[in-house]
Symmetry: C2
Subunit: 322 residues, 2 copies
Amino acid sequence: MSQTCAPPAPLYLDCDTGVDDALALAYLLASPEIDLVGVGTVHGNVDAPQGATNTLDLLALAGRDDVPVAVGAHDPLAGSYDGGVPHVHGRNGVGDVVLPASGRSPAAGTAVDLLLRLSHEHAGRLRVVAVGPLTNLALALRADPTLTKRVVDVTVMGGAALHPGNVTPVGEANIANDPEAAAEVLSADWDVTLVPLDVTMAHLLEETDRKTLLEAGTTLAPWLGEVLDLYFGFHVPTFGRRCSALHDPLAAAVAVGGVTPTLAPRVPVVVDTTDGPGRGQTVCDLRGRYAGYPDVPGARTRVVLATDAPLTPQLLERLLTL
Amino acid sequence: MSQTCAPPAPLYLDCDTGVDDALALAYLLASPEIDLVGVGTVHGNVDAPQGATNTLDLLALAGRDDVPVAVGAHDPLAGSYDGGVPHVHGRNGVGDVVLPASGRSPAAGTAVDLLLRLSHEHAGRLRVVAVGPLTNLALALRADPTLTKRVVDVTVMGGAALHPGNVTPVGEANIANDPEAAAEVLSADWDVTLVPLDVTMAHLLEETDRKTLLEAGTTLAPWLGEVLDLYFGFHVPTFGRRCSALHDPLAAAVAVGGVTPTLAPRVPVVVDTTDGPGRGQTVCDLRGRYAGYPDVPGARTRVVLATDAPLTPQLLERLLTL
């Protein structure tokens, strides 16, 4: 059976838009495999209301004012929003580019309200992709633990398994920005696919790709090229050149099947919620390394360690349709 | 200048003998680059007195009753000795093989006394290799912080950087058996070379190598072949065949220059001493990965991530002389 025969799966995106969140959002909008039925925003790269504004503006540029956007948690479960990362994503989250304002307001209610409502509307079919801190998902689980029964699966961009972290030696930003929430989400009764730095750092967008976006002649893609400018500069100390890791788009691509994990063992994953040097680490039990990483019985989290193909060509192809 | 022109460097070995400790001890005895001037034992694979008995017996088989052996710490700095790992190293630490008894007693005084005495006798020249928990070294530093001024360098088998642990998902046995001691040793004012699982798991002794030892026709080597039997069995679930990782011998070889690190950045290393899931982890700051792991200014610990050559041929060559 060809995939195109199946109706597109309803998908809820939770994000902190964010430059690479913007790419993930656009990728999902251009993906026939899924139907983006709602977006919730969360503190992280920017504050949650700014993330919603960015999302609304991007959706408008894509002609998708039909997609509801709800503002979610302003603060992590413990502590408070740290002010974001203006040197990475710009003060406004989209590389300090001023996008045309959508004129649309966020939906009434919180991201948790939206997620729970969609989980009933699409019970047994809804898929969830989370590319920011997991606060909204944790709060939704607290509000209604039966959420897990109505969601097909959860794909999370986050963590570092056998790879250095990006905000501490072992901590990746999405998880480290709310370790308590991540711990609750990863221990809940549902299947999670974790897309960590181990793989996202291996998929890069280059300056020639950005130029392709800038010259696309479409509505949204050139704006994405502009938005990427500052983010490309941030990656120079890491990679020695202007480029961008494709963190959030890779999680989106894994979720929709655009990229297929070739090594993704189901193993116990515990989030470090101490105040020690490991705070925010996704402690993945990968001791099966020399046995080919067999699944560990009872484990519900797949940790993606390798994928079948580079995301970049497909990402570009899809973004150029917008 | 050929290395053979230099007088052999005095070297103190701290160990919890232990099957692979026995190999490291023998390798050092057969290494012209160094002069083994003393051995201290510590809790770990077995209790410290048993480790000393094993060491004395192995030294006797090598005709080296001149090397002083002192019993060190019975317990880690926090908590108490956990009973060792009889399924790995045998109840007696040497694979339940009954070695010919040396008849010699340990030196008077503790391993700390021995290390401090040697550090004065060989001030400015003494090298230290530690292949067990770091309790003795930490206690020596507490007793005399100026120890660091008299020791050339410290090579430690321990930790896991971008590799799974072996006693927890992120914890390696030597460090996890006394994280507090490791934290003190790795933050002291001396140069430490950390030889973690990242590299030790890549150097294996195979059944054909063990047979070579068994048939050596020398005094010590055939006993080492016997001692390895149980340890080879322990590795079957990991590697799918009888073999052995060369943890402790690799640290010894790195220390004497028999194997040269080709990638060993000096980076901040913090030991997780929390009670969380990361307890005992060596949190190494390897965020310079994509820039070729430049040394981090001020860092005193080299983390060995790659070596130039397989240890096994050289290890065998040296062991066959004993």
